[in-house]
C-alpha cells in the first residue's frame, strides 16, 4: 500500500503554491511515497510521555532594545523587486476585480 496517493500529492502542490504538470506530479508522487515510507520509521520509537524538542537551545522571548535605528531606504528595499510603482512593490491582482 502506498503511503501517499496521487490526489494527495496534487493537493500538497496546491498548498505549496507549486504549479506542477502531470508528469512532474507523477514523478514526485513515487518519490514522496518512497521518502515517507522511509521517514515513517520515527513511529517505531517508543516516545510516549516524551516532550517534543523544537529547538536546540532553550532560549525564550529574546527581545531587542526598543530603540530607533537605521533601516533600508525605499530605494534599497525596492532594488530587487520584479516590478515597482512609485515607492511601492507592484503586484498582480490579489482580489477578484470582475464584479
Amino acid at each position: 500500500m502506498s503511503a501517499i496517493t496521487r490526489d494527495e500529492v496534487s493537493h500538497l502542490a496546491r498548498l505549496s503554491r507549486l504549479a506542477l504538470g502531470d508528469d512532474e506530479l507523477d514523478h514526485l508522487a513515487a518519490q514522496l511515497d518512497q521518502i515517507i515510507s522511509a521517514v515513517a520509521r520515527v513511529q517505531e520509537v517508543a516516545a510516549e510521555d516524551i516532550p517534543p524538542t523544537s529547538h536546540a537551545l532553550p532560549l525564550t522571548n529574546v527581545y531587542r532594545a526598543d530603540e530607533v535605528r537605521p533601516c533600508l531606504t525605499p530605494e534599497q528595499a525596492l532594488a530587487g523587486a520584479p516590478a515597482t510603482e512609485g515607492q511601492r512593490f507592484r503586484v498582480p491582482r490579489i482580489l477578484d476585480e470582475e464584479a
Partner: protein
C-alpha cells in the same frame, strides 16, 4: 614562493611581516582560480578587479598602522548562501539569479572587518539541500581528488575551492552535515560550531533550528582562526548565544588528548559502511589511545532514528521558510501578463524557479505539518529529537568527546545518487545527530580508502567547541607525522590551463 599552497596561518604571518602584500596573495589565488576552476567549478561568481580592490584596502589599512587580526589580507571563498551587497547571492537557485542583497550577512561583515579578502561566491546545492552540489541550479562542482566524483554538499563549492588550492579558507553552513561531509570527502577540516555560536543573520534560511555557519580549512588551526573571526554573539540573530566564543585557537594550538575520555559511537558502524572507511576509523581510534586518550564504546540507541527525524524536521522548517519566495518583493517573477492573479503568478514562479529537490522537500514538509499527519510525523520527529538529546547527555556523563566516521562512504561518482533521494540522504547519517541537538562537531582527515579521503568526526557538548579542536589538532599532528605532511599533499596535481 608558491603562495597558493600555504595555509591561512602562514599567509597571515607573511602578510603581518610584510613579506607579501594582500594584493600579491589575492593575485596568486585569482590566477589559480583562472587556471583550474574550469575543471573544478567551485565558484558561481568571481570578480578579479573587485577582489584586488579589497586587497588594496587591506594593504592600505596595514600601511596606515591599523592593528589587524591574524587573517588580515588572507583570501577566502564565500558560500553563496551568505548575503553580500557587492556580489550576487543566489543560494544556488534560479529563483534568486542575479539578486543583489541590500545588506551583508553578519558573517560577511565580520570577514570584512577582519580584513579577509573575499575571492567570490561558491557553488552549493540549491538552498543548501543536498550532499553533492548536483542540486545546484547552475552546475555540479568537482572533487579535486577525482573530477568525476562529488565534492560533497551542500557546501561543495567551498570544499572544492580549498582542496584545489583556489583559496586557503572558505565558509559553509551545516544544517545536516553540509560542512563536515564535504570536508570529509575532499580531505579538509570542516567545523560545525555549536548552534547559535555563529550568526544566521543574512544566511538564506533552510531550516532555522539547525542552520549553522562554520569554516573550511586545510588545517585545524586555520579553521579555528576563521571560526574565531566570524563567531560570537549577534544581536541581529535572536537565536545567537550570548556566551563568549570558546577558546578554539588556544585549543587547536594545544593539540593534546592526554587523559581525555573518548567515546566511540557503537551505532555508527557495520552494514552500509565502506570497509576502507571502517579501517581508517578504527586505526584512528587506536592512535587516540596511543596518544593517551581513554577510549570506550558508547551506545546512543536513538542515533539511528536521527536521519528519519531530520528528514521530517528540516523539510517542515524549509516549507515555511521558502514561502518567502513569492515573486512579489525580489527574485524571479513568471507569468505576470495582466491576466493572472498574484496566487497564480506565485505558483508558476515557484514551479519554474525551484529545482526538483527543493520542491520535494517543500511538499514533504507541507505533508508532515498538515493536520491529520502532524502528530504521526512532525510531532514524533520532535520527540525523537528529545531522545537524541538525552543520548548525548548520557554519553557526555561518561566521555569528553564522541567519535565516529564523518560519512559512511568516500566521495561517490557524480550521477550515482542524483535521482535517488533516499540513497543521497544516507550521506548525512552520522552528521545529523549533532545538528538536531546543536552540539559542536568537526571533521578532520584520517586517511585514504581506495585512494579517496576519509573523515573522522569528533563531537562535543554544546559550547564545547574548543574540545573538538583540541582532539582534531592532536589527531592531525600525529597523522601528519606519519604521512610526512598533510593528507591533501597526496591528491593528484590538477593540470593548470594556460
Amino acid at each position: 614562493m608558491d603562495l597558493v599552497k600555504k595555509g591561512a596561518t602562514e599567509l597571515g604571518e607573511l602578510l603581518a611581516a610584510g613579506e607579501a602584500s594582500a594584493v600579491e596573495v589575492a593575485e596568486a589565488h585569482l590566477d589559480r582560480i583562472a587556471a583550474v576552476d574550469g575543471q573544478v567549478k567551485a565558484f558561481l561568481h568571481v570578480d578579479r578587479e573587485a577582489t584586488l580592490a579589497q586587497a588594496r584596502k587591506v594593504d592600505e589599512r596595514r600601511a596606515a598602522g591599523e592593528r589587524l587580526g591574524p587573517l588580515a589580507g588572507v583570501p577566502i571563498a564565500h558560500k553563496d548562501v551568505f548575503t553580500t551587497t557587492d556580489m550576487p547571492t543566489t543560494a544556488g537557485s534560479k529563483i534568486l539569479e542575479g539578486w543583489r542583497p541590500p545588506y551583508d550577512a553578519t558573517v560577511t561583515a565580520r570577514l570584512r572587518e577582519a580584513g579577509l579578502v573575499i575571492l567570490g561566491k561558491t557553488n552549493m546545492d540549491e538552498f543548501a539541500m543536498g550532499s553533492s552540489t548536483e542540486n545546484s541550479a547552475y552546475f555540479t562542482s568537482r572533487n579535486p581528488w577525482d573530477l568525476e566524483r562529488i565534492p560533497g554538499g551542500s557546501s561543495g563549492g567551498s570544499s572544492a575551492a580549498v582542496a584545489a588550492y583556489e583559496a586557503p579558507l572558505s565558509t559553509g553552513t551545516d544544517t545536516g552535515g553540509s560542512i563536515r561531509q564535504p570536508a570529509a570527502v575532499t580531505g579538509l577540516v570542516g567545523m560545525k560550531p555549536t548552534y547559535g555560536g555563529s550568526s544566521r543573520y543574512g544566511v538564506i534560511a533552510f531550516a532555522s533550528s539547525l542552520d549553522t555557519p562554520g569554516p573550511f580549512a586545510r588545517s585545524v588551526l586555520d579553521a579555528a582562526l576563521l571560526h574565531e573571526a566570524f563567531s560570537g554573539h549577534d544581536p541581529m540573530d535572536s537565536t545567537s548565544v550570548s556566551e563568549a566564543v570558546p577558546p578554539v585557537v588556544e585549543a587547536a594550538r594545544r593539540a593534546d588528548v592526554n587523559g581525555l575520555r573518548v567515546g566511540v559511537v557503537k551505532e555508527f558502524a557495520g552494514e552500509g559502511y565502506q570497509p576502507g572507511v571502517t579501517a581508517r576509523f578504527d586505526e584512528t581510534v587506536e592512535l587516540l589511545e596511543s596518544l593517551g586518550a581513554k577510549v570506550v564504546e558508547v551506545s546512543c540507541p536513538h542515533f539511528t532514528y536521527a536521519l528519519p527525524a531530520y528528514y521530517l524536521i528540516a523539510p517542515s522548517e524549509c516549507s515555511s521558510n521558502l514561502a518567502r519566495f513569492d515573486a512579489m518583493r525580489y527574485g524571479l517573477r513568471i507569468g505576470d501578463d495582466g491576466s493572472r492573479s498574484a496566487e497564480e503568478v506565485m505558483a508558476l514562479t515557484r514551479a519554474e524557479g525551484f529545482g526538483p529537490e527543493v520542491k520535494r522537500r517543500i511538499m514533504l514538509g507541507t505533508y508532515a505539518l498538515s493536520s491529520g499527519y502532524y502528530d504521526a510525523y512532525y510531532g514524533k520527529a520532535q520527540q525523537v529529537r528529545t531522545l537524541i538529546k538525552r543520548d548525548f547527555e548520557a554519553a557526555f556523563e561518561q566521555v569528553d568527546v564522541l567519535v565516529s566516521p564523518t560519512t559512511p562512504t568516500t566521495a561517490f561518482p557524480i550521477g550515482e545518487r542524483a535521482d535517488d533521494p533516499v540513497a543521497m540522504y544516507l550521506a548525512d547519517l552520522c552528521t545529523i545527530p549533532a545538528n538536531l541537538t546543536g552540539n559542536a562537531a568537526i571533521s578532520v582527515p584520517c586517511g585514504l580508502a581506495d585512494g579517496l579521503p576519509v573523515g573522522l568526526q569528533i563531537m562535543a557538548p554544546v559550547l564545547g567547541d574548543d574540545r573538538v579542536y583540541r582532539v582534531g589538532a592532536a589527531v592531525e599532528r600525529a597523522l601528519e607525522d606519519r604521512w610526512g605532511g598533510p593528507l591533501l599533499a597526496q591528491a593528484p596535481e590538477l593540470v593548470e590551463a594556460k
